[in-house]
Amino acid sequence: MNVTLFITCYNDTLFPATGKAVVAVLERLGHTVDFPQAQTCCGQMHYNTGYQNDARHMMMHFLKVFRDAEIVCVPSASCVAMMREHFPKMAAAMPDAAVGRDVTAMLPRVYEFCELLVDKLRSVDTGATFPHTVTLHSTCHSLRGTKIGERPLQLLRAVRGLSYVELPQADQCCGFGGTFSIKNADVSAALLSDKVRAILDTQAEVCTAVDNSCLMHIGGALSRQRAGVRCLHLAEILASTSGEPA
Amino acid sequence: MSAAPLDSKQEILERIRKAVDSVGNRAAEYAAIPREYRREGAMAAEAKMELFAARLYDYGTSVYRCTTAQIADAVAQALSARRRTGIVVAHGVPASWLPENFEFVEDDGLSYTALDASNGVLTGCELAVAFTGTIILRHGPGQPRRAVTLVPDYHLCVVRAQQVAETLPEAIRRVEEFRSTPLTTISGPSATSDIEMTRVKGVHGPRTLDVVLVS
């Protein structure tokens, strides 16, 4: 199948390794990947911070860039949630009814990375090897925004050599919340310290998730504490092989 | 009455009318509200009674099950178990419920102080709900006053089988005709969790509730 990658602005800028991993997994499974260079951002940060006018422009740009894509793969649950929850509402508030139709036509083709693998490509086993102890943070947007639920776990369980440890209170928000982490830094840090404590208690070597935004926040604290626990996007674990380990 | 309150009313209503365009047929709209929740129970009579009794046990209530002919005996049993030699009797309690050898005081408008000093109160009820372990009291003429079911520290309540509904919606429909008289629902004795979330039973209402359940 031909998959068009929407890498998302922050993965593009800050976490290119995640994008490379997505490409590696999909190509290994025999699919072709396409990356439109014109793409930018889904508008989430602006929308969630109150700059909805700006977000609208980003939505329009997204619709234009991905108009002809058959399957859009997004390795970020929160961006997918943004599209599913807010694109229709933004479109409905616009005078041009064609935008609404574009959104309706676009959304069924948008897949979060795990959804794509499990539901559309039916490839729970990606042929990965990752001989480490891993725990999974279930991000709020993967639980409630996109409802991808158990899919990340299904994928992890198929990875050779991986030993999975459950994260206690995995569904508790890590406290990132986009600009919340700046505007309410103290509360964000308090939530983060609970999350970090839970992660350290599992004795895992690696903490994974389907949102690099949460991982950037969690990983930042683990790094500050020199905790020796790595944060890796799920795609990077799935891309890992014994020849090319993550 | 001064003119000011009227102005406030008009202004509030005006603001509401400006804020919402309440066009559309209100009654039809109300009738179209989805009500897919459970509105009828499905339990057999005995199962329903057992559920109700189980819920009451959960609340720490002692339940005395008996037949109509045994009500007075059950009342005597309950009172003895609580070491009561007498009790106030609310309006609407038939004489046949009262056992011999106990001292019963009719509530003919007893003062709050007298109620406070009493050993408890015996009442019937209007209805009960099995699923939630709820007793519904109706007040007003010929019924127990609110104070008499509240100020005494002990409440003994007689509930008959035909009064027990399985679900709340069934009970609500059955008491609907009394919607303009005061109603009290009781689900277990009064309780608080205000101190460190420790559940303490019995704060201001009757601290002990017993039920005679008649089949």
């Binding site: 976490f15 290119p16 940060m45 | 509240l150």
Partner: protein, 476 residues
Amino acid sequence: MSVRVGKAAEAPTFAQAARGMLGNAQLRHNVRHATDVIRARRAHAVGETADWQQLRDSARAIKDHVLRHLDTYLEQFETACKAAGGKVHWARDADEANTAIVDIIRSHGGTEVIKVKTMTSDETGLNPALEAAGITPIETDLADLIIQLGADKPSHIVVPALHRNKAEIRRLFMEKMQLPELGERAEDLAGAARRYLRERFLRVPVGLSGANFAIAESGSLCVVESEGNGRMCLSLPKVLVSLVGIEKIIPTFGDLEVFLQLLGRSATGERMNPYNSIWSGVTAGDGPQEFHVVLLDNGRTGVLTEPETRPTLACIRCGACLNICPVYRQTGGHAYGSIYAGPIGAILTPQLQSMKHSQSLPFASTLCGACYEVCPVKIDIPEILLHLRNKVVKSGGAPLAERLAMRFAARAFKNGGRLESAQKLVRIAQKPYVHSGSIERLPGMLANWTQFRDLAAVPAESFRQWWAARQNKEKK
């Protein structure tokens, strides 16, 4: 106009207030414990209710319907209440409500009033108004009594004193109730409150309450409670005054079958709260013989104006959104500067004040969505938060640095080329701060990030550059 929500207009920003709370270990321990306990109880009670989602759907539909026809239902309520012997007062704002209540109590020469928990009276600042008029309010809900005796502020909608522990309460009771001795168990403390209040229940001739539901067709009020103090205040005094927000209306008595099933389970995790009192007007020979309802607007009609914010008024004050909220769980209620804390407070408090105050509250959320999931009337709180954030930004309420950063980003996101240039710019700008691939200290607004966490440096090659290079290689 004196619309107000307690003293929320003077409160510090959420971030400032929260900082103080986070340092209070006792408070955080108590809040955590309390919310854990209620959450577990709620989950159990909801779990055994097979038709929970259907109940939520109906509740929301009823509330939406009422709000669309609020004028008609309020008038219907007034007519029915009057027919049952009650008196109805309308109050546009807090002062009008307080004045009406003070006048009623004064007309009976009352110097004391027994109160059942009513958040609405905290909203209007009724207690100070009563005291100024020489009337002593006596709070009878155990938690409210703890708050009142300690000259403290409530920190939760349902369990307002959860920030206090047993030892503190014991000390407070011994001092204020003049008890030379008092046991240490919760039972002992509850017993002390029973004795302290009983004499007052039996003696004080004026009662004051709020209401959970006001039934339009019968003009009845319904008060939901656990301790029995409500029943005392509602049935023993000679005169009863109830202060009721106009959004508390439900159309019919039958609608209680929906709300009573939702409220107890959501609020305390009980199948049904121990006591509900329902009454209309006055009943000869039983209960208060004079009854007043004060219907309060105080900013509610403003919330009604926008379809986006209107669902805020569907709230039945169960507190479930507080208990589930990760932010509330860290800070407790005081950080919200208002009687209404947690997610519902974050949307309600600023709106009641026409968005002129408490503007930091809509930002006091990570948008995790847990509140929406538990809300028994399905209020999409995150959605309303976003709407309010947009209002704050549009009215120029956002900090300058943020506005500039957002503008920079918006420009960068116009097309792929611009984004690539911006990425390059950031890579240059970060240089002085990067040490072995990591940033430990940043200036300005971003210091809020690096104060607690490292930031991985922007890598030398973005994904789009890597992709372009790969494509080029393939072509060759």
